[in-house]
Symmetry: C2
Subunit: 490 residues, 2 copies
């Protein structure tokens, strides 16, 4: 059977009608640029779910707990991080440097909360090679402000609704085009909010609902606010935990710290904050001045559990990802014990080659590769949020434009080549019909002790499929070149 229903024009029109109105009635929405607070638009989505190999989908699930553990262990190993980040900070003094500097300040002032909440997303594309088992390959591991857990669940429900409603069916008997069991729905709204509740629970010495609240640190005029709100609403209705949203620059004026206990409170309500959930603070533009960094410091030294701590955020640096592709190094954090052996090799199998661009032997090889066969690579700085990478033919000129000593601030990563699909993207009511490629994200939540490395809870938290035109190098949904999608397993 074909990957996608081949609908007639009138069928497609009624599909689009149903899709848009379902989206708008069910919170699958974002704010458009220059929005009014009462007027969203439907989030960009595909018309159809995109085929995804069942084995690869399962692989991503299988390795998630071990990946959570890996990054928790890294974040708990200050010495290891110091060795890497302290050097890296030179190349990126504006951001990695500031994160590190803020951590050092926090440490000097005293870090009173040993627990850290990881809300992670491991991103993959599928390498499909004729005759071989399709294999997930990791794009990156995100340890701060992972998004689309809210909209992901919604788009899965959307595609299921359209399938159940017969909108994908071609023939007159209106049966379903896809089997329901092939259209899984991510439970990421529930699971991610459960993760926040876990943080609250451990903050309160394993007691539920003591009235403490979650502080969501947000960007000013965030457009992807509904993705965040869906988690907040679930947190309140499933766990009775309230949340409040502040920007980084509001922290000083709207919160206060109890000097002895270092407990963090909201001024207007006297609410005690158990968890600080960062949906901002992952990019230089999130800090407008030293005051915002000072506010980040206030939060880091408070007793509230941070999701993530500065160390956990730094553990997600691209440089760390590169270093962890070395089996010897990764084995210091997670071990091949009989119980996890399978997952461990599954995890290693998700890595493609990632090279440093320094003067180590590996680095020197990589410099040659970057200049001679750039088409196989993407060059990444220590940044998050999309739009920062340099692709293929652009790499040599870019490298030549900066001093060679600064190259060490970048990593060189093998490009993954996922299959293209002729799905359609709907954006602002318009249908785009170009080949797309998809990226699977798997969410995870983990509570761990950053001082001892002990893990208190560790959970898979659903998944996300984002798709973008094959022709565009980056895939940010809010940024305008991608959309949320769901899988049809095959």
């Amino acid at each position: 059977t074909a990957a996608f229903p081949q609908l007639e024009k009138s069928q497609e029109e009624s599909l689009v009608d149903n899709l848009l109105q379902w989206s708008l009635a069910n919170g699958l929405v974002i704010y458009p640029p220059n929005f009014k607070s009462y007027q969203p638009v439907s989030a960009p989505t595909t018309l159809y779910p995109t085929p995804f190999p069942k084995v690869a989908f399962q692989d991503a699930k299988d390795v998630q707990l071990l990946f959570n553990e890996l990054y928790a262990k890294v974040a708990s190993d200050e010495k290891f991080l110091f060795g890497i980040i302290d050097e890296l900070a030179q190349f990126d003094s504006d951001f990695t440097g500031k994160l590190w500097e803020t951590y050092i300040k926090a440490k000097n002032q005293g870090i009173v909360q040993p627990l850290s909440l990881g809300i992670f997303r491991s991103d993959y594309m599928v390498n499909e090679i004729e005759g071989k088992k399709p294999q997930i390959k990791q794009i990156e591991f995100n340890t701060v402000s992972v998004s689309f857990g809210g909209l992901s669940e919604k788009v899965g429900e959307l595609h299921n609704y359209l399938n159940n409603h017969g909108d994908y069916s071609l023939d007159e008997d209106s049966s379903k085009f896809y089997k329901t069991e092939d259209l899984p729905i991510s439970d990421s709204i529930k699971k991610l909010s459960d993760g926040l509740a876990d943080g609250d629970y451990y903050y309160n010495n394993q007691k539920k609902s003591t009235g403490t609240i979650v502080l969501v640190v947000v960007q000013d005029r965030e457009r992807n606010v509904f993705d965040q709100r869906l988690l907040e609403f679930a947190l309140l209705s499933n766990h009775g935990i309230k949340s409040i949203r502040l920007t980084l620059s509001e922290i000083e004026s709207k919160t206060f710290i109890e000097p002895n206990s270092k407990k963090l409170f909201i001024k207007s309500t006297n609410d005690e904050v158990s968890v600080v959930y960062f949906r901002s603070g992952y990019a230089p533009t999130d800090f407008n001045s030293q005051k915002d960094w000072d506010n980040r410091l206030i939060l880091e030294t408070s007793k509230a559990i941070k999701a993530p701590t500065l160390l956990t955020q730094l553990a997600g640096a691209k440089k760390i990802q590169q270093i962890l592709t070395d089996e010897e190094i990764i084995s210091k954090f997670i071990t091949k014990n009989p119980e996890t052996e399978n997952n461990f090799s599954q995890l290693l199998d998700t890595f493609v080659a990632i090279y440093p661009l320094d003067n180590s032997p590996k680095g020197l090889d990589a410099k040659k590769l970057a200049l001679e066969t750039p088409d196989n690579f993407v060059l990444k700085p220590q940044r998050e949020g999309g739009g920062n990478n340099i692709y293929k033919q652009d790499i040599p000129n870019f490298l030549k434009s900066i001093p060679e000593k600064d190259w060490a601030g970048y990593i060189l990563m093998e490009l993954i080549h996922p299959q293209h699909y002729q799905n359609k993207i709907l954006r602002d009511g318009e249908i785009y019909n170009e080949p797309i490629i998809s990226e699977l994200g798997r969410f995870g939540t983990i509570v761990f002790n950053q001082e001892s490395g002990e893990i208190l809870s560790n959970n898979d938290a659903g998944w996300l499929l984002r798709s973008k035109f094959e022709s565009s190098n980056e895939g940010g949904v809010a940024a305008g070149f991608g959309c949320v999608d769901s899988v049809v397993l095959n």
Copy 2:
């Protein structure tokens, strides 16, 4: 305690933020004028739930099944309707006349479906007189295209969310301002979609899910589409019943009738229609030409169950409402049997005086009243959908402007004087702070045999509170002078 929280400016701002984003994430939305299909706005709502007397709220529930039965019996009494409507048709040949004419045509062609589905809403305002029990007084009984069952459930959830989130609380301990048990949530989405499923069930000789579908007859570019969609989505997810939306003018081109069985089918999918659910066809503007009336006739003579049939729609005429205020007449349809005695008198208690304006002794009295004390009255033509009534001082001049023989097409109704409340209305992000008054609607669904009068199912289906500025005479939400609200029982 005060009726409403007296919030500070900053508290109100964050309340509005939470309110808007909850609404947009949960389908409490409508399309603005000249909308794009992917861009809704939050529905106008009150900031707070509005006080409503518990006893009066219960009264409306208590009488709903009996009201459903009453109007089912009236719709089943063709002779009674003939005596009234045939005369009324003269005064309003454009609409009541056309409905009646179309019914007569259908009858001549042969009506093959004896069953009728009533989806009703009985509307009330509360008369609160010092020292007396607050009493619901009926504004009107709607038998066609009753709306806001979808948004009503949502606004109840909204006000509960805000209360649970502490957004209404004034003091520092962030407790709830209202008791949860005083903020009931209407279950009208579920109940109204259950009503549609009842129609499907009886169409299929009491079998569930045979693959038949519901045809929703809609207005072109309906702005209140999400209110309708919420019922459709529940119908699919709770009952597995699909629905399709067509305008009246699309009926001929997009459906066909099987000549022998008179079964109604959708051309593109061959789906058999069990229930035709009218969310259009209640106002003259819904019919653009004789062709639309012909299409209405096609539906009426099909085997599908209509919600409502033409007779059921006509039973909701304001004139019928007036006639039914006579205890002798109403007793012909519902009787004071020991079981229902209490409800029967409760039902009678909901009536205010309604007069004919004809040459009967009562009518002659009423003409005097209309001209001499118009401030006590509202004058109503045989129309639905708001904006048609004449109020108070406007009545004498209006009556004088038309021939006296045409006055009989109107009814004169005593004005109800509900209490004003200083709630606030939020519309397009702006807060309006003027005294408001509220109207309670109670939904009901009933399947009955229009030939025999037999009742097959009869259910209460939740409720609606709409509020409007006291200064505006009409309260249509979509029309722009009202909003959806919920109750805080007291």
